[in-house]
Symmetry: D2
Subunit: 297 residues, 4 copies
């Protein structure tokens, strides 16, 4: 039986300066995150601007994260490419560098050909040939593809498939798939705004962009849930909604990086052509008022 | 002033066997295409399964195409990556290998951030820094992004931007942008079903998947248009519709490759996970009846 | 200050036989619902096939519901037409027949013209001129229109607008709008699968299609929530998911009516062209096994 | 065999003042249209704000149009409701008032239930029971439903179904369905921007909103096509594109009515909540410069 991945995983951003990655700043950020009760880190997700990285940069970041993460923290590496063979190769390279699991996004360029049968074959083939377990990554907003509950239930029977990270922004898949997945399966939420209701409905935890700017609040929410303090959890969740909306939906990765800068991490610019789609709010006078300023938007 | 790219460009498929590219088969196909009145070849488009190739494979195919193409045939290389700097690098590598122009797909992973301003900046920056001219590549079905006519008109003022290949499947952009683009601008259609009406409305020509399986028919249609034989052109266009539908919309790249096999080219399998979404029709008894069999579906 | 509408409202189906409405069967169903702890009934919603009714039929059903409903049960009438003036007239006719509130769907035929300003003007004008309060009805799946949280917050300031019924299937609007709506505002969920998490996040209750086939289970879930029995509520919610999915998403109104028949209510056929999109499951041997049979699909 | 409906049909707007219809202004507009070479008039289409009318208003407009139209002009009445039985009743009422054909929009409220089988049954049942022939009306932008070519080919075999009006904005259905529909079938274009290419590919004519503001230009384009003057037709078509875009896509029905006012017809306001989504351009100094002013946008 697989070991369930539970708790809060921070989706790491990639520090850039003039188009180059900054491994030192990456190390600094992780060192700070190590102070909080987090389950681990994700490298090479949407938050990490993975599509803008070269393979060498991806490996450098993974190596750096592995060296810096506090003991026991899990490292999940985004390794999904469009083709089956490239994804297998990338996953095994990540395994060699010590990744604990691979996050594999649904292939989506040829949308009309990505039938349930094609997706099933894709994940089963990869799971058979990789040395670390897989987490399926569903991100319909960016990919235009939504997997069925039935497919996720079937795939989660494979001993090398841990489960899924679902960034759909609704709870349908959690409700429809999780109760029918094997014991020990992992269901991680990708939407910070659904953390509390999702946990209540049986989610294992979350991979959260907000966790890069406000890791202590995400960890606190998870802790309140574990302790059964549901009223406090609800209040914290609702307070996090405007902030989460600002750093994800409204401003995307540039907004998340802006929030990192405000809170004393290194955020910095995104790689071109990724830039803020609208003007970001003026910085507040004190770092602690981050939530306040975003909430006012 | 730029030189307009006119006529029919064949979108080349990539021959695979057991997951490996077959440069010899690629050469054979091009040698056959050389017999027909085509303007040139496109390497690394959607038809060529570009997203499934490694950078080395892309360069091998480009080199092969350059060596094999009949004199005067233009070579267009798909070089669009998501990031500005990776696209510049890929475009200049293609320039070094003799590509005449680069086909640069709209970046689209972070859909909500790909505003008109971001896209404009993307293309202008690349155009400033590349040694061959660009053709913007709009493929809304796969990317989920549609550029405005205004953006295309503005970008086409840049001396290093030839124009656009539009695979939207409708004629709006052609009608709204082409009359306002500079003289000599290139507007290539990506939809085989719109070749005749598009040419009538001022398109320069097309980059056509159907041109890989039936190059002589596409060339003939273009020729009928040039000669003003509109009734014959209309009949041929309508006859091509079911075939075009079969090799593109219904069966995608696997369908196109199947059609190549039927017509004496090397088609072969696609790279995983790209496979036929539905059962392909049984092969006809003679190669000449290709259109017939597809039309019957 | 307005009075918040709380609890479970059953979305009533409309009984038909050979294309005619059956007021007697409608009465019978309501009489049975009166046994359970429900807050009230909705006539003329999507579940009631409102778009297939004539104005006379709508008024007959409303009158019948008003006469049959147990004392204290609220009657909510769907009165939204596309035009402002027709909606005002329909709402005041419903007021004359004793409706407690009107459910007014977002006008949506001219989608591109239904800007936030147009929608705001629509609801404020209607609210000014009607004798019963309004509940905004958001049903993006059928209308293709989603209102912003900002619009809902603004509209809920009007003394004659109670709040919103949200059938979007996600919790964004609840999280983003409810904390900023005036005290006493009503936020009713339209998705049976989100009842428990929605209540936890502050929803007032729900207008639930599932409540027509399984009113006692919906009432029980609400009661478990009120008592703070969250573990039991979670289990019941997850058990209801497959049933809810079957009677709403998979089979739509025909599925809901089929479930009514199985459970001893009058379901009967829908009006043409509304018919099951796929074959409905075989009836189980006993009525009590309804959930079981749907869960197995 | 059916008689094909050919040529240009003007989609009539509905004159309003303070929310009331103005039959006199409706008469005046038609009297002016009678001067031009038009095939007929459409009452109760999207352009006529049909969804905002009461049944009595619809019948008044139809009667008025019938009395005013020049001899030989065909009157097509929009009669599609969501339910089969209501549509039959409305169509037969239109027949009693002298309509030559009924335009029946695809039912669409319960989108997921409107399968090909449901739609087929809907149209065949109506065609069996109505005293005037039907034209299927596809308007995907407003309805969210697109019929398949196969369905249209099948339905057009029915002796009481003339064919289709397609407002999809692309030419796929024309190319895929028209060659396989029976001789004498009608295929009318709903997009003014596709008139010339559509006619070239075999369309019968068009039902055109632009024909309400610029009937002489639409009639001229059709005439140029009939005479085989394709170069002139192309130039006129391209000149009409910005105007068509302005009165349909950019500003919708309010834009079309504004254009009517500029050109000496009665346009007037739309019924609430239909109003311009953006500021309409300032009126030009002379009526003849209508095209100019819209083209400049």
């Amino acid at each position: 039986m697989q070991q369930e991945f539970t708790g809060i995983f921070t989706a790491l951003t990639t520090p850039f300066q003039e188009g180059k990655i900054l491994p030192d700043k990456f190390t600094d950020n992780i060192a700070k995150y190590n102070q909080y009760e987090l389950a681990g880190y994700v490298i090479g997700g949407s938050t990490g601007e993975n599509v803008y990285l070269t393979e060498n940069e991806r490996l450098t970041l993974l190596k750096t994260a592995k060296e810096t993460a506090a003991p026991g923290r899990k490292i999940i590496a985004g390794t999904g490419c469009e083709s089956t063979q490239n994804t297998i190769a990338a996953t095994n390279r990540a395994a060699d560098l010590g990744a604990d699991a691979a996050l594999v996004i649904l292939p989506h360029y040829y949308k009309s050909l990505m039938t349930t049968a094609a997706l099933k074959d894709y994940y089963l083939t990869i799971a058979d040939k990789t040395r670390i377990p897989l987490i399926i990554y569903s991100m319909p907003h960016n990919t235009g593809i939504t997997p069925s509950a039935k497919l996720i239930i079937e795939l989660s029977q494979h001993p090398n498939i841990l489960g899924i990270k679902d960034s759909s922004g609704n709870l349908s898949l959690l409700e429809e798939a999780k109760p029918f997945m094997p014991d020990g399966s992992t269901f991680l939420l990708g939407a910070g705004s659904l953390l509390f209701p999702g946990l209540l409905l049986g989610a294992s935890g979350g991979i959260i962009t907000l966790g890069a700017a406000a890791p202590e609040l995400c960890a606190q929410l998870y802790d309140l849930f574990l302790q059964g303090k549901y009223e406090e959890a609800k209040r914290l969740q609702l307070n996090l909604v405007p902030l989460n909306q600002a750093v994800t939906r409204d401003h995307g990765v540039p907004g998340a990086k802006y929030a990192l800068d405000l809170r004393g991490y290194y955020g910095g610019p995104c790689r071109s052509p990724c830039s803020p789609s609208t003007t970001l709010p003026k910085p507040p006078s004190t770092k602690s008022s981050l939530i306040l300023i975003f909430s006012k938007n």
